[in-house]
Amino acid sequence: MSQPHDHDHDHGPGGHTHGPGEAHDHDHGPARPPTSDVAVAAAAEAAPAPVSIEDAGSRALDEALRSSFVLVKILMVALVAVFVCSGMFIVDQNEVAVVLRFGQPVGKGEDQLNGPGWHWAWPYPIDEVVRIPRHQVHAVRSTVGWYAVTPEQEKLGKEPDMTGSLNPASDGYALTGDANIMHARATIRYRISDPAAYVFNFTSASNLVENAVNEALHAVAARFTVDGATRTNVAAYRAAVVRRTIELVARQNLGVDVDEANSTVETKVPRQVGDAFKEVSNAELDRSKQINDAQGKASEMVSKAKGEASEIESKARGVASKLVAAARADADSFTQQLPLYQANPKLFRERRFTEMMSRALTNKLDLFLLSDDPDKKRELRLLLNSEPQKPSAGVPGQPQ
């Protein structure tokens, strides 16, 4: 087959060079007998050394076969090379790959995970490469306990319209331990820790993580009070939900690590009773304000009393020290004057009386002196001031 082709080609270009000038040749080309190709070839071979036509034919065939086999060989080597190269694959930074040989993972445990880089596997159907994202953080969001709200409303911070009740078909909620109703939702983030289990053991491990969160939201709400989960103890509720989720995914061997720090849990009282809850917080604020005020007043009162007390005591101390000092002074002057008195009591008394009188008479006194002459009888009339004044005109201590 290849031999005649070669000849065709050889002739082809020649025909072309002559083509434009000699239309005659072209017209004659097709008119040649169909066997002429071989005949010409044989003639060309035969021209230098005349050999029999059969010999020449088998030699040509042999040559043709040989060269075609070379071609087939090259082709096959190329095919094998392509086949082998098709088994090369690259694993990205954030993924691992597992090679399944006839459906069975190659290697055991951590060994079956092929890290980032070039790898080789047999082409299908012998091997199958399964890529699994690994370090990527996945997030599942549980809204089974939240009322129906569209992402647009969420983005704008708008609340959807509400009715007096919650429609079980669209509005989710959780029942709390005190048989009340609250909304709860969570976003749990996780990484795949066991890629093989995550991919080969579950049709949708992420769906199971989400359902674990759903379960946790309700299971934990069932033991919290609505007040505890929405106001006073939100952190504890959050922690318990995350803990329960971790427990569930571990028990179900989902092969994931929950990222506790980046997971969020949100709770809210139903909007239908929101106002009532607000009033309670206001009342609570009022209560603590009242108590604070009372405590402020009380501490003020007590500190004032303490001041008064120390004043009373210091006053008493002042009085006391005065008293003692006066007594000591009295006693001292008494001790000093006693010898003088004892020396001459009468003289001492008179001298002291006179001294006193002279001191007293420097005051503004109305002084009347009456003669004590028994012969002269006098009448003394006293017009006592009707105006109430300090008791005066007394002469009680007057020696008579």
């Binding site: 076969l65 086999f69 040989r101 069975q104 993972p105 007096g164 009740s165 079980p168 989710g172 909620y173 029942l175 331990g177 009340n180 080969f200 949708s204 769906n207 199971l208 379960e215 309700h218 299971a219 069932a222 179900q252 009532a276 309670v280 009342a283 609570e284 009022d286 304000k289 009242q290 007043k297 009380a298 009162m301 007590v302 009373i312 005591e313 006391a320 008293l323 007594a327 006693a331 008494f334 006693l338 008195y341 009468k346 008179e350 002291r352 009386f353 009188m357 001191r359 007293a360 005051n363 006194l365 109305d366 009347f368 009456l370 300090k390 005109a393 007394g394 009680p396 201590g397 007057q398």
Partner: protein, 302 residues
């Protein structure tokens, strides 16, 4: 000769591939399979890898997904043992463990399987919820709450039946939603509001009561402090008086003189202001007005 060898090799490889296709089958890591033969016997193949078989139609291979699949039941009402309506939705993870049974039941259709599971879990749910009072589902008392136990109970009820009838293993079961019928929700809201109002009143009362209590306590404390101070003052004064008394003991040496001093002081104080004094001329120092001292010792009456 060369060409022959090549042809033989290629032919051999082709034959091998053909034979492999006819006599072998793969079970993937995530699959489980069984081989059924014309004679009616069937063999389960659990391990992943390459397995031998006889070509069709002598033997047929049936493969199934062996991974855990998620199934979610309906969110529907059930009555608790104390007659309260409760809406419960459960989810479960199941997988095919006995492919022959699964095939016989559903012919490999997962949809049929979930439909049947639906019925199974529905009746199990009703039965288990009906055995527990409302307090087992939600309660602030840890001893009363049986949430997890209820889940386990439902699992126990369906597990063996699912295995026996459907050839599937229920790996786990959880309550994914718990709720109340819509009309009850409204009642709960009313109750919650009433509860809140009670709380408001309670807090208001508490605030006043606490304030009064604090005030009373402060009063008491103030009285105590003042009383203590008065006591202390009295003690101080008493002590001072005792000290003064001990000082005055000296005066006892001559009471007469002491008395005299006292009277003298009293008189002086009286005469200090706006007094009118009427004296006879005998009173010193006016006695000297009557003349030169007659006697060296003027008489002073007592």
């Amino acid at each position: 000769m060369k060409g022959n060898r090549l042809a033989v090799t290629i032919g051999g490889i082709l034959l091998l591939i053909f034979g492999a296709v006819l006599f072998c089958f793969q079970v993937r890591q995530s699959e489980v399979a069984f081989v059924s033969s014309l004679t009616g016997t069937s063999t389960q193949v659990q391990a992943p890898g390459l397995h031998a078989r006889l070509p069709w139609p002598i033997q047929r291979v049936h493969k199934f997904d062996a991974r855990v699949q998620t199934f979610e039941g309906k969110f529907e009402e059930a009555l608790t043992s104390d007659g309260k309506p409760l809406m419960v939705q459960v989810y479960l993870g199941w997988k095919i463990t006995s492919p022959q049974t699964f095939y016989n039941s559903f012919g490999g259709s997962t949809n049929d399987a979930t439909r049947n599971l639906e019925g199974l879990i529905g009746s199990a749910k009703n039965a288990v919820v009906g055995k527990h009072p409302f307090g087992h589902f939600v309660s602030t008392e840890p001893a009363e709450l049986k949430f997890v136990e209820v889940e386990q109970e439902m699992l126990d009820v369906i597990k063996s039946e699912a295995q026996r009838r459907f050839g599937i293993s229920i790996e786990f079961l959880g309550i994914k939603r718990l709720g109340l019928p819509e009309s009850i929700v409204q009642k709960v809201f009313e109750r919650m509001k009433a509860e809140r109002e009670r709380l408001v009143q309670k807090y208001q009362g508490e605030g006043q009561a606490r304030a009064l209590e604090i005030g009373a306590k402060a009063n008491r404390e103030r009285d105590e402090i003042l009383a203590k101070a008065e006591g202390e003052a009295t003690r101080i004064r008493g002590q001072a008086e005792a000290e003064a008394a001990s000082a005055y003991r000296i005066l006892e040496q001559n009471p007469e003189l002491h008395n005299y001093f006292k009277r003298l002081d009293a008189l002086e104080i009286i005469l200090r202001d706006r007094s009118t004094l009427i004296l006879d001329t005998k009173t010193p120092p006016f006695d000297i007005l009557k003349g030169p001292p007659a006697s060296p010792a003027p008489k002073s009456n007592k």
